[in-house]
């Protein structure tokens, strides 16, 4: 039997190692969670259609992730989806005429919100609504628009042949 001191020391080491591993997992290999909550502010945007946007999706400015979608609600008065974003405090000075659009990352990737900076000198305040919000591009709408457009224009050679 080893001395109790050795047992204590190695048990302590083991438990510390275990908690260090949990801490590593929580802080290093996941993004959602602690870093954003402390110093950040909210922005809101209302969309006609948010496509497949989910809470937790990134909010980016020129491709740089500056925040995340915190909450998605449906407004019964406006008939629009209200998306609440949490933006890191480092990016305080976003002009208050910037607009928000929903994009898709890659062909099959998840959807995210891209902000395009405007030219105003006044930044957005906490909780302010984004002025312009462009909806998600829904593939079915695009396809149906294309189909109906091509059906509306009559095929040119066929009538000519009948005359």
């Amino acid at each position: 039997m080893r001395s109790t001191r050795t047992i204590d020391i190695s048990t302590g080491l083991f438990v510390l190692l275990g908690f260090a591993a949990i801490l590593f997992m929580v802080t290093q290999i996941t993004n959602s969670g602690y870093s954003m909550k402390s110093d950040s502010y909210r922005l809101k945007a209302s969309f006609e259609n948010i496509g497949g946007l989910k809470s937790g999706a990134p909010v980016s400015l020129a491709g740089v992730t500056i925040g995340r979608v915190e909450d998605i609600q449906y407004d019964m008065d406006l008939y629009k989806a209200i998306v609440t974003m949490r933006i890191n405090d480092k990016y305080r000075a976003i002009p208050n005429d910037s607009d928000a659009s929903i994009y898709t990352a890659g062909l099959l990737g998840g959807q995210y919100i891209g902000l395009t900076p405007g030219s105003s000198d006044v930044p957005y305040r906490d909780g302010e609504q984004v002025i312009m919000a462009n909806d998600a591009i829904v593939l079915e709408h695009l396809i149906s628009k294309y189909l109906f457009n091509s059906a509306a224009t009559p095929p040119a050679p066929a009538p000519a042949a009948q005359e």
Binding site: V15, G18, I22, I29
Partner: protein
């Protein structure tokens, strides 16, 4: 025909009897749990026995599981030209499935057998009977700290296993095959949710409870012969492995 049916009926009733005994054993453990938690000293010794002593094998296996994941994942992902998702693939599969399950299987093999053999030998050499004669409750004195030690050690072992395996996959993917280290970690970060980590830890805890319970039960109820102790250790590994995999399916279905 009748004989076969009788045989079947017999094995069914023995199986049900064993399940019933296991449940009763578990309930007895639960009943004395509060008083056992107060005695910290024996629990620490058992955390040392089951946890700290399993550390080397857990870390070695974790490293190699991670390296294999890196190798297989890289080979598969390059076919789609998306090897930067290596981090995501490894992290998700490790956190949700491989980490807890492989750790539980190793735990059953390393710590579970040790527990079962120790308790079985105590039973065979009449140490448990001697305690009962001295009015010392062997459940409280011997079984409970071993069970609790296993339950505490398992989630910690799971997280150590996962972290070591992530670095193993990084070793193969990034150092050997030249996947970009930045995209390895950042793709992982953007895909892994806190709920994935929670799933892994909950699974680790549940498997820890199951494997420790089976080990102490089999050891405590071993036949007091050399053969009985051997059987108890074998059964510990087999039953732990089967129960772990069944529980894994149930837990995954619950948490998806």
């Amino acid at each position: 025909m009748i004989a076969v049916l009788r045989e079947l009926w017999q094995s069914l009733t023995t199986f049900l009897e064993r399940v019933g005994l296991l449940v009763r054993f578990a309930l007895r453990l639960m009943a004395i749990l509060p008083s056992g938690l107060l005695r910290v000293r024996p629990i620490i010794e058992q955390v040392y026995n089951t946890g700290a002593m399993s550390l080397v094998i857990i870390m070695t296996c974790g490293l190699f599981i991670g390296m294999v994941l890196g190798l297989q994942g890289y080979d598969l992902l390059t076919r789609f030209g998306s090897e930067e998702y290596l981090g995501t693939a490894t992290a998700i599969s490790l956190l949700r499935e491989l980490g807890p399950v492989v750790t539980a299987l190793l735990f059953a093999g390393r710590a579970g057998t040790a527990l079962a053999a120790e308790l079985g030998l105590m039973r065979a050499t009449d140490q448990i009977a001697a305690m009962e004669i001295m009015a010392v409750d062997p459940m409280r004195r011997v079984v409970l700290p071993r069970f609790l030690g296993g339950v505490i050690a398992m989630p910690l072992l799971v997280s150590i296993f996962i972290v070591v395996a992530l670095f193993g996959a990084q070793l193969v993917g990034v150092e050997f095959f030249g996947v970009d280290a930045g995209s390895y970690w950042s793709q992982m970060r953007s895909a892994v949710e806190l709920s994935d980590i929670r799933e892994g830890l909950v699974k680790g805890l549940v498997f820890g409870v199951a494997c420790s319970l089976i080990a102490v039960y089999e050891g405590y109820n071993a036949k007091p012969t050399a053969d009985g102790v051997g059987r108890a250790t074998t059964r510990t590994v087999v039953i732990s492995a089967v129960v772990t995999l069944i529980l894994d399916y149930i837990l995954t279905a619950l948490m998806l």
